[in-house]
Subunit: 165 residues, 2 copies
Amino acid sequence: MTSSTSAASAASAAPAVTSVDEVLALVRARGGRATPSRRILLEVLFESSDHRSVEDLACEVQARAPEVHLSTIYRNVEELERLGVIAHTHLGHGPATYQLATIAHSHLVCERCGRRIEAPEELFADLARAAAERYGFSIDPRHFAILGRCADCAQEARDVAGGGG
Amino acid sequence: MTSSTSAASAASAAPAVTSVDEVLALVRARGGRATPSRRILLEVLFESSDHRSVEDLACEVQARAPEVHLSTIYRNVEELERLGVIAHTHLGHGPATYQLATIAHSHLVCERCGRRIEAPEELFADLARAAAERYGFSIDPRHFAILGRCADCAQEARDVAGGGG
DNA sequence: TTCGATGCAAATAGTTTGCATTCTA
DNA sequence: TAGAATGCAAACTATTTGCATCGAA
């Protein structure tokens, strides 16, 4: 095992699951059951490259199996997160979003226009090091969004505020 | 041009209000009114050094004026935020928290035990610089929490996971 | 006197829970 | 068969909104 992993993935020994069947095997291995709704949810997750809200996921799952209930999705994402297969992120306000742990990354989110920019993990290298050194704190950049202003909105704000000198 | 201000305070030209009366004057100046509920809310905010949820604030306000309604607090924090007097932060899950803009700072929040560590703005200097250089993005560290594991919980996780290796 | 602010109730969004039923292992 | 998972409804938390009334300026 390459144990010099970044702060983001140090916490749990997440197996590198790469297919729906592997995850379902993992579910069974821990005493859980491979149900249709779980399989479909996983299919949707594996086909998504972006962060998805539970409602979002529910829509896609229900397109294939209309009887699957929202609460089932909630229970399943919770379970899949416990297994380390997916991770959630809080994007400022609004619902939590989920994505495969293997492709998890943080986002820069503009508080004004809502624009999202994918942030590679290395962007947090310095912060991770400083937090660890000073407070012993292991940051997990996948689980929070960096809020602020995107280039355009920051420029607009500057135009307004700086007009009079 | 002193454009090398920190990312956190660049966006709005926030007047350095330091007392309840100054804020109320500011409220009046923009056409608003100095009401008892606003005064009390401001008193509570000026006496708080920590981040407070709206419900939290409501409890303290209502201790002095029981008739003040929760929705009034919501409307007032919104107004005070627009004025740049207070700022909000999203602490992972749970309600948004508010604090005076002058003492606003970010927090490291443990996702496991909920512990909060105050993070000085300089901790984000490198991240702010990198985000600005690469994406033109101005981060606002006051408005989001850095999630992860505190020293104790990270250690526990290591004990559990690393037992065999 | 005017219109911004409030109290209250009800709506809304996001999420969780209790329980009888269904279905995997 | 056992008990994990589901569907459904209802509770719950956080927040917003409509509206008649109140009160600051």
